[in-house]
Symmetry: C2
DNA sequence: AGTCTAGGCCGAATCGATTCGATCGGCGAT
DNA sequence: ATCGCCGATCGAATCGATTCGGCCTAGACT
């Protein structure tokens, strides 16, 4: 084993030294039971002598059946989530929402890869989890949680199950944004979407791709756009990032003869990439190309005030955290749907009349 | 208990149904032992029938002595850490560094408040922890970890113990920045520091405050500045935030007759606050006041290109994660010290010659 | 053909604490 | 004075899995 095989003292050792039974010693620590002040002090003194650091959380949680940990399932590498301001805001909100529990936040990813020693969703000592983001693997994850009997709440995920969902008006919001573009006079609009499937397939919006979609957010936002522009096509990005937006937009704008006058991006980061691509090609935003984002974050380094659909990310996280608290206290949790607002910045304008 | 008292199946149930012993069933799951393919399949089938979701992580970690979780101790509320870009970058690096473990990342705070059910540093099922940031409570925390026998690595914390430390050249870097200010011609320089003590005392840099300092980072950076400007004084902020920088700078610039020509802020966020305060007072940066930051992050909304000491935050986190991996595999971990570089932006200039 | 070997499986101890039910004085009430 | 009750404490079962040592049997080697 470990080189420092010097056995750490256990509650039994402490009890023995204090001359009380193990059960009494336990009571002295947890405080959940009648113990005389004198005895308690004696136990604490013995613990101090022995360098006992308090009950082992592993044993405690085995016995109690609760670990005091809430899992947060991110759909991607932790690193990627940290780079996404929306995720950070949600995490922030979640941490605020579960504060009354005093529980820790365990970051997990939904990649499906489970190493030998790895802590995955299938095997993490959590009392509840919050599913963050529209992960394509949602179904599998939920099934695993159900089997383990772990309560869950989803943020932006069409679970189709009995787990509460915290969402926003993806379809209506996008429709509102699209409508704004139409009012400005746009008719030729392209879309850069979030990933649709588990493989995060990048490329044109083929019918197969859409039909195989497991990502509700991307589908809903697309549907909202198509209620206004039924013919609109575009490309799916491999993630919500500036880089992916750049790549998708390069493809959409490749042919100078045949460019849309506006691009609807399903996230602000994608929108930032789109703008970058347009400027690379010598186009001006919004004169030559209007760009609509989604999220309402500030994109670092972006010189524009993005026209976008601002969603209350922190509030979503907080609501999810509160739902967790409710579930753990036995109350039936409620789903909630928040509303996004259209922020008009300087990346949208009347289209330049085509020649 | 829980309303869903329908007992979840245990390994024993699975074993019984498969007609094998519990030990064999365990082997079938963990794969660490000789089990015939047929038996293994039978066990797995039984598990599937019963809806068994795999070994309970709580029991497993009690027996194995490892939880597969690495704790990250933040010196403040999780929320605050999420708002600090430096922290996020470090988290990012840590997650990258511990990737080979496949371990989860548990976010913990070092506030010392331990509620009834709360998971604190004293009682979290972690295999190791990374102490992030220069928490004034470091000593107490480390003592608790030592008693529990949990290996730790500190980022920016003078532990004075045998735990490895990942740091940067705080003193030398600040001296370099201060030297640059002196070369520009500044002689009257004030300093806005990070908190020195557990109470995060805000206010003038009194001798008592400095002597009671438990925060190495603040002390080192101050020492570096004073090697160039021995007489420099200033104020301690209550945290690394724009708000705190604003408040400290308001005090330092309160008297129009007696203003420094430059302010050294111990973080970029503080520097942003300083700039804001100066502009509030009608001063121009850098014409009326030079401002030097520390960190090298991009501060959202800041219109300046801050002159600052850029530190490799991600690399620090990654190094810490790697050190954790080493410690858990028994190797003696090594401390590392990274180097910061002076980035000259547009917030520093030759001082306006005093009347 | 006899013995040795090793794979495959089982029993039981163990990890460290929590908690239910029982025991035992001592004290207030009748 | 006695009954009953309550607070303090103890014993022992329990949480759910891992793992060490031992046993059995079939195949291999001489």
């Amino acid at each position: 084993m470990q080189p420092d095989a010097a056995q750490r003292p256990t509650l039994a050792d402490v009890a023995a030294r204090a001359g009380v039974s193990q059960s009494t010693a336990s009571l002295a620590f947890s405080g959940s039971g009648p113990v005389s002040a004198a005895t308690k002090e004696r136990v604490l003194a013995a613990a101090s002598d022995l360098g006992y650091a308090g009950p082992d959380p592993r044993a405690r949680s085995l016995r109690r059946g609760r670990s005091g940990i809430v899992g947060v399932v991110l759909e991607e590498r932790v690193r990627a989530a940290f780079l996404d301001p929306v995720k950070i805001q949600m995490l922030d909100g979640i941490s605020e929402g579960i504060a009354p529990l005093g529980a820790g936040l365990l970051l997990l990813t939904d990649t499906g890869e489970a190493g030998e020693n790895a802590v995955s969703i299938e095997s993490a000592p959590v009392d509840a989890v919050v599913l963050v983001g529209c992960s394509p693997r949602l179904g599998v994850t939920i099934e695993a949680l159900r089997r383990r009997g772990i309560p869950a709440v989803a943020i932006e995920g069409d679970t189709g199950e009995d787990i509460p969902e915290i969402s926003i008006d993806n379809l209506q919001a996008t429709r509102r944004g699209a409508e704004y573009l139409r009012q400005l006079g746009h008719t030729d609009v392209a879309i850069v979407t979030l990933p649709f499937d588990a493989a995060r397939t990048r490329g044109p919006l083929t019918r197969e791709l859409l039909e195989s979609s497991t990502a509700a957010t991307a589908s809903q936002r697309l549907a909202g756009a198509r209620e206004i522009f039924p013919e609109a096509t575009g490309r799916a990005a491999g993630a919500s990032s500036i880089e992916e937006g750049l790549e998708a937009a390069r493809a959409l704008l490749a042919d100078p003869e045949n460019r849309p006058t506006a691009i609807i991006a399903q996230s602000d980061l994608l929108a930032a990439g789109v703008i970058q691509a347009a400027e690379e090609l010598g186009m001006q935003v919004p004169a030559d190309l209007s760009v609509l984002g989604f999220d309402g974050i500030r994109v670092d380094g972006l010189q524009h005030d993005l026209t976008t659909l601002a969603q209350p990310s922190v509030a979503k996280g907080r609501a999810a955290g509160e739902a967790v608290v409710q579930m753990l206290s036995g109350e039936p949790p409620a789903s909630r749907c928040f509303t996004s607002t259209l922020h008009v910045g300087d990346t949208t304008a009347v289209p330049r009349t085509a020649g």
